[in-house]
């Protein structure tokens, strides 16, 4: 269990003994965790750990085999999510989500996408279509308000210039931001983001961080986040839950999680007692320098079997202020390295020239672009074969 034990009212989402079985396969086994109100909770874990399945249970796309999912709304009402029909979870329990493979209404304009998100509110305002059909003024006001809200979120997402373009025409990073803006237009209390930074370049990733921090600070919406990009996770999350093979292996603050040997082992794929050996092997400055070579900012996520199928570069922002850059090939080692980096403030990566950061976040130091092509020496890649 987590080291800090919050009171029940503090938790916006309580997941208790959640299990999901597909036939004989146990995708999630007896998972319990909490997401606290007003915080960003990150759900991380190697590929296939069942993170998206947890999301699908929370948002009603799957009915869990066992367990209880309680959502406590700000007004004091609670909903058992596993009992609500799919579409009522966003409508009544105020949970919104985005998807790993972006699901926009690509033939509709950005503005229309955000108006569709306000469907339930507008349905009521239009008297379930009937009053609106005859042009009652109530609907016209509501319609104008909904456009204002859409404009607000388009501005937040920095997309207002393209409001009248089809969503399918946007570049990838903008589509991700639009999807978040669309989810926010439903007025959620809990926002579930499934790999929002996947496939983003460092600049876009930073804009995303800013958007998420803005949402957290200004709307009071709590965020539950699945992410492979450790830069995002470590910079913005208040609380991290680590899954492996459908089970929780760690839970706590980003710092606590990162130093948890079980997490390291899960990501490295080695036995606990081997962790130290690995540390010694890869915690070498030379290795890190070698990693930090060719820039490859445009590279998206590969279908690699690596645990870290995120962007090629993972920038790990350290809570103490160090920033250690590791590349994908060595990302397993990078976890371990991050730990050793804490004791060695003058990391080689620090010396690299930085671009001015756009991130307004206060909790983390700017994680500007520090691209690296994996030119990994054999020994640093050691954990890779052990999956």
């Amino acid at each position: 269990m987590s080291d800090a034990s919050p009171s029940v009212n503090d938790a916006i989402l309580q997941v208790e003994h959640l299990s999901m079985k597909f036939g004989g396969l146990v995708a999630i086994g007896d998972l319990s965790f909490q997401a606290r109100r007003g915080e960003i909770t990150a759900l991380i874990g190697p590929n296939g750990a069942g993170k998206t399945t947890v999301f699908n249970c929370i948002t009603g796309f799957y009915k869990p085999s066992e367990g209880m999912l309680t959502l406590n709304r700000r007004d004091g009402s609670s909903y058992l999510l596993e009992r609500l029909p799919n579409h009522e979870i966003p409508a009544r329990a105020k949970v919104a989500r985005t998807f790993q493979n972006i699901r926009l209404f690509s033939g509709m304009t950005l503005l229309e996408n955000l108006l569709v998100a306000q469907h339930n509110k507008l349905m009521k305002a239009s008297g379930y279509t009937i009053l609106g059909l005859f042009g009652f003024s109530g609907y016209r006001t509501a319609s104008a308000e909904s456009i204002d809200l859409a404009r607000h979120w388009l501005e937040k997402a920095d997309l207002v210039d393209r409001a009248d373009d089809p969503a399918g025409d946007l570049p990838y990073g903008a589509q991700r931001r639009l999807e978040i803006a669309r989810a926010m237009c439903t007025g959620p209390e809990l926002l579930c983001l499934d790999e929002p930074a996947a496939g983003l370049n460092p600049k876009e990733s930073m804009a995303l961080n800013a958007l998420l921090m803005d949402i957290k600070d200004n709307t009071g919406t709590s965020i539950l986040l699945i992410e492979h990009d450790m830069a995002v996770v470590m910079q913005i999350s208040d609380h991290v839950v680590v899954l492996e093979y459908g089970r929780k292996i760690s839970d706590g603050s980003p710092h606590a999680v990162r130093t948890d040997p079980r997490v390291i082992a899960a990501y490295l794929g080695v036995e606990d007692e081997d962790v130290e050996t690995v540390l010694i092997e890869v915690g070498d400055e030379d290795v890190i320098e070698q990693l930090d070579t060719g820039p490859d900012a445009t590279h998206g996520p590969g279908s690699s079997s690596s645990y870290f199928a995120g962007p090629v570069t993972d920038t790990v922002g350290h809570s103490e202020g160090e920033r250690v850059t590791v590349s994908k090939g060595a990302s397993k080692a990078g976890q371990v390295d991050a730990r050793s980096g804490a004791a060695r403030p003058a990391s080689p990566a620090e010396a690299k020239p930085e671009k001015p950061s756009a991130a307004k976040s206060s909790t983390a130091k700017p994680a500007a672009k520090a691209p690296a092509k994996p030119k990994t020496p054999g020994d640093s890649n050691r954990g890779g074969g052990n999956e």
Binding site: N56, F61, F99
Partner: protein, 300 residues
Amino acid sequence: MQYFVQQLINGLTLGSIYGLIAIGYTMVYGIIGMINFAHGDIFMVGAFTALIVFLILGALFYSVPVVIALLVMMIVAMLLTSLYNWTIEKVAYRPLRGSFRLAPLITAIGMSIALSNFVQVTQGPRNKPIPPMVSKVYNIEGVSVSLKQIVIVIVTALLLALFWYLVNKTSLGRAQRACEQDRKMAALLGIDVDRTISITFVMGAALAAVAGTLFLMYYGVIAFSDGFTPGVKAFTAAVLGGIGSLPGAVLGGLMIGFIESMWSAYFSIDYKDVAAFSILAIVLIFLPSGILGRPEVEKV
């Protein structure tokens, strides 16, 4: 009991014909994901070709053994009908491959309308009756089995065996199955996708032509509009069995055949088609992908 067995045999005969047509629907659907609406009319063209060949044989020779006549009819019908389907695929479907999904459906409907009206214009709108080719009827313990029915079932069984061999044991069948799984990947691996799809259309048409010949022999009459009803029934059969699944098409065909003959025998002949369609709807409500179809997984 005898009455029941009698209906079973009638249903089997009818189901064989539906099954043969349904394979054409299901194969095309499996490989390019489109409903080939013109397939019913391809079946009708097959039957008409057989009819004309029958008349040519009658005009050229004083008497031809029935077996040879049937064989010649079938082979010519298979050849010419395949040519029709091959041409249609090339002209009306291929340019639209990979485009908007409803576009090939509309061209298929257009082709269906054009084909049946082409036959109407060239051959006249009337029913075309032929004298019975095979009239022998066996009576086994009160159940009458006509030779026609035996021929239909045997020919169907032989063809299905041959077809099963082609799809499962030859490189052509492998190519087809590969295209069905992933057309792009198949192309990357050196499979000539266009050719494979053409062959699929040809095979479907050949089976439909045999079904047409058997239909002509069984009922002894054909008209230009006769493609629609068997076509829709066979399509229903393909969906009932699970569209895209070859055993499903045969199973669905047999089921529709049985439902029809049983319903006409025990309830009302007027509502036999209503029964077939209603059962389709009911089955799909409980098994949304048909009986043997792969259930569609909703990926989130």
